[in-house]
């Protein structure tokens, strides 16, 4: 807890990956971290080897005060813990300002102080003048440094301020550094910068001051990652980011893209080598804690970041994946995925099978049959690109590798009533055969599919106890109106989990309830199959399970 420099990272203190997910990231609409969440986030950030974790604003936010109290028990391996706060108020001294004292009380060994560096903000929002603003910075930095803290300065609205009045902007930085601040962090607070101009400004500030400079970018022009990288190329040695780019408005610079770029494009080992393959896992885990669906198209770590759909490339990808991927996806713990689409050919299906642990390489006639089956189903509206589990079942069925299904359907009936009093009720009855027995069950639900799922569970649970761990986590519906044929068909995707892995299945039918039924059944059959047949890699090239 007394560490003030990054530990066990190849670049040591000479380059800072500074994470502010817990402070600036929490400004994102919809995020509300509990103290327990914050502790879990800090542990995960430490696992990817960031150098600094800004935990919040003690004093201003009670939850943050509590976080710092509990964070003393965190056994961080790499990161130093940072408290965020503002300089003393105008007209008082730093040691008497309760907000500054709260920074000391947090026991965080490092403090980031935010200060206004745009004259217009100093005059209009702070309602003071430049000499007093500089004095506030100087006094607060001196006081904290005197108390043994390492101090970084966040120069708010720096780029607009520097463009409007460079002398004021530089005076604020100078006040901080002369008083003992280690890094002058140039903040693009409203996120309006573009990379070429930003890089020029960063280079100019370094040339004029000789200070150690950091960068903090917001994503309002869609350029936060690019701006951060450009700043590093211009000489910044401290970069502030948030996990998955969480933050106010359009968000902040995404930690995972910034680190991915620095490590793989610029060859800068800014986190420990063993942490690089953890990036994808930690990104998804942090999304889980924030209760935000992961961005499947996120650079480097998104589940689609290396997913290829184009039939154009599929056969060439087989020859040499690196001709089509900008990096080897496993470097960042991700995986290449081939999407099986209407353009599916033999090469992409074979490759996809390998990914799912199904070896089709030596069986050309099975591969031919599987391609024909997939194309046939796709012409009726099926799509396997997001339903790996259904595709795996199809491939194993072609290989005659699927055991007897765990249950068979005799019939079901779903009834929905909108009563005269306005209430809406759904009720489902299923009749099934399982383990030689005939079972009937009836259940209610919010809607027809929910009722059917409930009846299915009610019927099967006594016979298939493993079912209790399986939960439906997502349900997507797409109506295919002008599908070649006559009537509209409905495509349903069901995502399931058993607490350890997630898998997605698909069902297609003219009737939405039947389509849902098909996807629900596939989900259970896939779980039963995986229980009896654990995934094994094929030919040494199979990756980890991606479903």
């Amino acid at each position: 807890m007394t560490r003030t420099t990054p530990a066990d990272t190849p670049l040591g203190d000479s380059f800072h990956v500074f994470d502010t997910t817990l402070r600036d990231g929490a400004q994102r609409e919809g995020i509300t971290y509990s103290v327990a969440d914050k502790l879990a986030v800090a542990r995960l950030l430490d696992e990817v080897g960031v150098g600094f974790i800004e935990g919040g604003w003690p004093g201003a936010m009670p939850k943050d005060t509590e976080f710092f109290a509990k964070a003393r028990e965190l056994d961080l391996q790499h990161a130093a813990l940072v408290a965020f706060g503002s300089t003393r108020r105008a007209g008082t001294t730093a040691d008497r300002d309760p907000q500054v004292r709260a920074l000391l009380d947090s026991a965080a060994p490092v403090v980031t102080l935010v200060a206004k560096s745009d004259r217009r903000h100093i005059e209009r929002a702070l309602r003071t003048d430049v000499p007093e603003a500089c004095a506030m910075v100087r006094d607060t930095v001196s006081f904290l440094v005197g108390e043994g803290r390492r101090v970084f300065l966040d120069a708010e609205h720096f780029f607009d301020g520097y463009a409007h009045d460079p002398d004021t902007a530089l005076a604020v930085l100078t006040a901080a550094v002369e008083a003992g601040a280690d890094v002058a962090v140039l903040c693009d607070t409203n996120g309006g910068q573009l990379p070429l101009h930003l890089a020029d400004t960063v280079g100019e500030v370094i040339a004029r001051t000789g200070f150690r400079v950091g960068i903090h970018c917001q994503d309002d022009t869609g350029c936060a990652v690019a701006n951060s990288i450009a700043a590093v190329q211009a000489g910044a040695t401290h970069v502030q980011c948030t996990a998955n780019g969480y933050g106010e408005r359009a968000g902040n610079a995404d930690l995972f893209s910034v680190v991915g770029n620095l490590v793989t494009k610029l060859g800068m080992p800014v986190i420990p080598a063993h942490a690089v393959p953890e990036l994808s896992r930690v990104s998804h885990a942090l999304a889980e804690i924030a209760n935000i669906a992961p961005d499947t198209h996120q650079a480097y770590v998104g589940s689609s970041a290396f997913a290829h759909k184009a039939g154009l490339h599929a056969s060439a990808i087989k020859v040499d994946p690196l001709l089509y991927n900008h990096i080897d996806p496993t470097v960042v713990g991700n995986d290449m995925r081939v999407l099986v689409t209407e353009m599916a050919g033999r090469a992409s299906l074979e490759l996809k099978g390998r990914e799912l642990g199904v070896d089709l390489a030596g069986q050309p006639e099975v591969l031919t049959a599987a391609v024909r089956k997939v194309k046939e189903l796709e012409s009726h509206g099926w799509s396997f690109e997001a339903a790996d589990a259904s595709l795996e079942l199809l491939l194993r069925h072609e290989l005659s590798e699927v055991d007897e299904p765990p249950f068979t359907l005799e019939s079901y009936r779903v009834i929905m009533d909108h009563s005269i009093d306005g209430t809406v009720v759904s009720e489902a009855t299923v009749k099934l055969h399982v383990n030689g027995a005939r079972v009937l069950a009836t259940a209610e639900g919010n809607g027809p599919v929910h009722a059917l799922d409930a009846a299915l569970r009610e019927a099967l649970l006594p016979h298939l106890p493993w079912l209790s761990a399986v939960q439906l986590t997502d349900y997507k519906v797409r109506i295919l109106v002008d599908h070649p044929g006559t009537d509209a068909v409905t495509r349903v995707l069901v995502e399931s989990t058993d607490g350890e892995r997630e898998w997605t299945t698909v069902g297609v039918h003219g009737n939405i309830v039947e389509a849902s039924w098909l996807a629900l059944c596939d989900a259970l059959v896939h779980k039963a199959m995986r229980a009896s047949r654990p995934l094994t890699a094929v030919g040494g090239h199979g990756g980890p399970p991606t479903t």
Copy 2:
């Protein structure tokens, strides 16, 4: 349909905003546009004034061939339509290559040809040599130019190719331009570039060749927007993007961020002035068509892009919003305090009412009530962005302008049976009151909603003969899983036509059948209302009906 240059844009042909949502954007996992979707997308892209709309790959994709056939009836105001294709195959002539002939048959006045410009791809994927690859480019461009087409060249994997073997990369460009191609588009196909280096390469290529250069960026480093802007600053005058950055893997450069940056940051009027405030609306409408939840944190157009969480800045924002926003959000049709959708504000609701022929200008208290009602419904998952007819009903209801509904519901019941013989049957019974009579009707359908619609018609037709002209033309379902509250709710959009006009209505409920019922009823009530109250423009500013 014969336009080959952008019309009515301030920069004319000297700068190209080239959209490839319908071709490269459709490579995104999960997107499958119908032909009707593609036509709707093209209309919306034309509304924001893009110069070129790449519609697809005729010949290779049957749906794209059909799109180009139907696109002849599109009355595009700004954009020229573009077909995408590859050069002739090795060992044949362009005029005999069926894929090249399909480009001509599409009747698109502009063609983008994709060609490999990385020697490793030419040798390993194309399995030919550089002279033959150049000949393929030269022949195909010459042939198409000879047939009166304007041709752009997409130089695939250009940046990696140029770094590896600049002579080959430039030879491919030269073959195209000497044969008559207008623009050499440098493609960062695997998306691995960063802005500073990319800008250097673009500048160097222009200096060495003097060619007109375009840029096409993928987002694998999270820098597609920044790379596109950097390329323009280095001299590129043609920029390829997709709506909301849809595309393979991490996606493409986002049209809305790129245009937002070019217009507001670099002062380049690349789309007509009147189209700039349409960017936010069109972005959301295109997400709706793609059936992808809009990215609320998208730069410029996201509903949170200018949303400030209360805290440090709250009071200062009141003093001067432009101190905290990088641009005035209304410039791009966005709003500073919007939380759920752009509809939330008074000004936009008043404007929208005017567009729908509903005059709210003189009735501030009705407007207040309507804004409150819309916000309340939005907090329960309703969305009126794509459901003008439901919104019009809501506004007229607030104005007490809606007549008695043409019918009222007593109850309905829907039954679905999956029988022992495998057949699936849906049956619906409705009990209604219409014109003072109580009517019962039962009908079957492919699915529950189809059966309900059929029963409704059966009951009403004898009493409301105008109903015979009304048809349901599209039906979209979105499950809102992580809606603030407890259970998932379902949002249904229904598009109807009476042969003269089309209108869209919305319904939201925990039960998909009830949500569909609400949208179906709104569709009929809107038709009845329009029959008794023809649309009249309000205050001379009302546009044509958009439903």
